[in-house]
């Protein structure tokens, strides 16, 4: 690929992000502005913003790459990423909005009336955030190497620098329309090249799909256990992601939180058609990418290979821009929510504390990214989902739906889930992807039920510790808001 294309796309996206960040700094000026603006956001904007923040390197590059590697087994990934939002809608969306909490530690502290729970939740949230940023940086490293030929580490460093600059300067915060714009940029950047590739293939008279069944890597197919465990992780991991909750707060009430989630489901469904199509085309026309370890670069390389010429280069530039939009938007969303948690709980709530926290939030995962290797992006993000599903998901679900949850139960459950799932992840990494047994490679199927069981049993054993305000908070979570005057009354 022509290196100039990669440079131009990266610089354009970085400048646009920084510019919108600084512009946003000027419009969100006071605390009042912040809240007023956040309560007048329309569901469509809000849903686009959630989509923009959620669709990360794993979705943009990883899904197509994994489909290229393992075929129909990988189709469960986009299904799980989308259906996770269905679970979020069913069990979490409206009650969490009504809780008035802005972060997950805020919620657990209010619900269980315990500072200790807050501290443990904060640690877990920071761990999740760090783990989730690492694959974004791997994606950036891969993209820089493939598109410009520069050393990989430059890509990770560039993303961290741009994110730190915009976050520390105050941009990218509460600016719904930046993230909303990112969704549509990512969708366009993926959809337009796919359509052109398909047109080019149809024009060449190649039968649209000849043999997608061929297995380019001769990897063994995942067993039933692996697929089930993956679905547990993805279905129950989404509702604990720290940067997702913040977005729900910008809905005016519980009902619009539900409507927003419904739109998010539509947006994600449309988006995932395109990585799926890319993966299918790649399996037929570019299977050699799977063999030389460039599967995750499939989306980037496809237009250049199958369209070619100036059109191919323009399309490549578009995809590279979309990829960087994915790394930047997810990373900055995570850095902002992590910095909030770190500064509030560890460094004190000052502007300096927040800036220091933002640096910490971004630089630590950069270290991880240097130390570890990128295997499959979608796979490593899948493990992060397993971790949230074993820690944050039980405390949210039980906190929202079960009066009997106690602070002791919440803490032991989260710690158990974190140790089991974290232990499985570390052991799996040490053993290597090839030799780790299936139950270590996909731990969610046993770590999630164990975390739930521990949380319930310890809560039952410590019944006297149920917070006296539990009943009041539960009512607050579930009672519908008084209808606003402008809203049509139901029926």
């Amino acid at each position: 690929m022509n290196p100039a294309v990669g440079f131009a796309a990266f610089i354009a996206v970085s400048l646009a992000t920084a510019a919108i960040g600084f512009y946003g700094l000027r419009i969100s000026r006071t605390t009042g502005d912040f809240y007023v603006a956040s309560r007048t956001v329309k569901p469509w904007w809000n849903a686009s913003a959630i989509g923009g923040e959620y669709l990360s390197a794993a979705s943009f590059l990883g899904v197509a790459g994994l489909i290229l590697l393992s075929g129909t087994d990988a189709l469960w990934f986009p299904v799980g990423y989308t259906a996770g939002y269905l679970m979020l809608l069913l069990f979490v969306a409206a009650p969490l909005r009504r809780s008035g909490a802005y972060t997950i530690p805020d919620f657990t502290e209010a619900r269980l009336d315990s500072k200790a729970v807050r501290r443990v939740t904060s640690f877990v949230v920071v761990a999740v955030g760090w783990l989730y940023i690492v694959p974004q940086l791997h994606g950036a490293a891969l993209t820089i190497r493939i598109t410009t030929g520069l050393p990989s580490w430059l890509g990770s460093v560039a993303v961290v620098v741009v994110v730190c600059l915009t976050v520390v300067a105050g941009g990218m915060r509460s600016i719904t329309f930046v993230q909303a714009f990112q969704y549509w940029l990512k969708l366009t950047a993926l959809a337009v090249p796919v359509v052109f590739v398909l047109l080019a293939l149809a024009g060449n008279g190649v039968p649209a799909v000849s043999q997608p069944g061929t297995n380019p890597t001769s990897l063994p197919a995942a067993g039933a256990y692996q697929n089930i465990s993956l679905m547990v992780a993805l279905l129950f991991g989404t509702l604990g992601l720290p940067h997702v909750l913040v977005r729900f707060y910008t809905n005016p009430d519980g009902r619009s939180a539900r409507r927003t989630t419904l739109i998010v489901l539509g947006l994600l469904s449309v988006f995932y058609l395109f990585p799926t199509a890319s993966g299918l085309v790649g399996r037929v026309f570019a299977p050699e990418l799977a063999r030389n370890g460039q599967a995750d670069a499939l989306v980037l390389l496809l237009p250049g290979r199958l369209v070619g010429g100036t059109a191919g280069e323009l399309l490549s530039a578009l995809v590279v821009a979309g990829a960087f939009a994915a790394f930047l938007s997810t990373t900055s969303g995570l850095v902002v929510s992590l910095a909030g948690v770190i500064s509030q709980d560890l460094l004190g709530s000052s502007v300096r504390g927040f800036r220091l926290a933002a640096l910490l939030a971004a630089v630590v995962p950069l270290g991880f990214a240097f130390l570890t290797d990128s295997f499959a992006l979608a796979g490593s993000v899948g493990l992060v989902f397993a971790f949230t599903a074993s820690t944050i998901c039980p405390v949210l679900l039980l906190g929202i739906w079960w009066r009997g949850l106690t602070d002791a139960g919440a803490i032991t459950g989260m710690v158990t889930g974190a140790l089991l799932c974290g232990g499985a992840m570390v052991t799996g990494t040490v053993l290597g992807a090839a030799s780790a047994p299936g139950w270590l490679a996909q731990p969610a199927a046993w770590t999630v039920p164990t975390a739930f069981a521990v949380m319930v049993l310890v809560s039952l054993a410590t019944k006297n510790r149920v917070s006296p305000s539990a009943g009041r908070i539960m009512s607050r979570l579930h009672i519908p808001e008084r209808p606003v005057a402008t809203e049509r009354s139901p029926r």
Binding site: T31, M87, L90, P212, I479, P490
Partner: protein, 120 residues
């Protein structure tokens, strides 16, 4: 240009949101109120569990269909293998439909609660 960081106690956030739409604060004031709230929570939970189980059943049946019906995975729809159509496209409308049904039913539960509270 002044910049203000949004920090401080959560009560600020709660009261800011309360100005627009305040929850119907009847909940724990009386025994009757408590019964109403508990039955609202129970009916919402039952609804969520029913929809989630229905969706998971469909998901599992898709997987079993492909695994157990011989030749189905290799048959083609518009030139694309059937398993790709089912998993890559066919599941998404099911997700959307489940979500839509849930939203309607959850709003109905809340309307019923509201009627009960206002009749009292």
């Amino acid at each position: 240009m002044t910049r203000v960081r949004v920090t401080g106690p959560r009560s600020t956030a709660a009261s800011a949101s309360g100005r627009l739409a305040r929850p119907l604060e009847i909940g724990e004031d009386s025994d009757v109120g408590r019964v109403f709230v508990r039955s609202l929570i129970r009916s919402q939970l039952r609804l969520a569990v029913v929809i989630a189980s229905g969706f998971l059943l469909i998901l599992v049946s898709f997987a079993l269909l492909l695994a157990l019906v011989p030749g189905l995975a290799d048959s083609r729809l518009f030139g694309i293998p059937f398993d790709w159509v089912l998993l890559g496209v066919g599941i998404y409308p099911v997700i959307g439909l489940s979500a839509w049904l849930y939203n309607r039913a959850a709003a109905r539960n809340e309307a019923r609660y509201r009627d009960l509270v206002e009749d009292k």
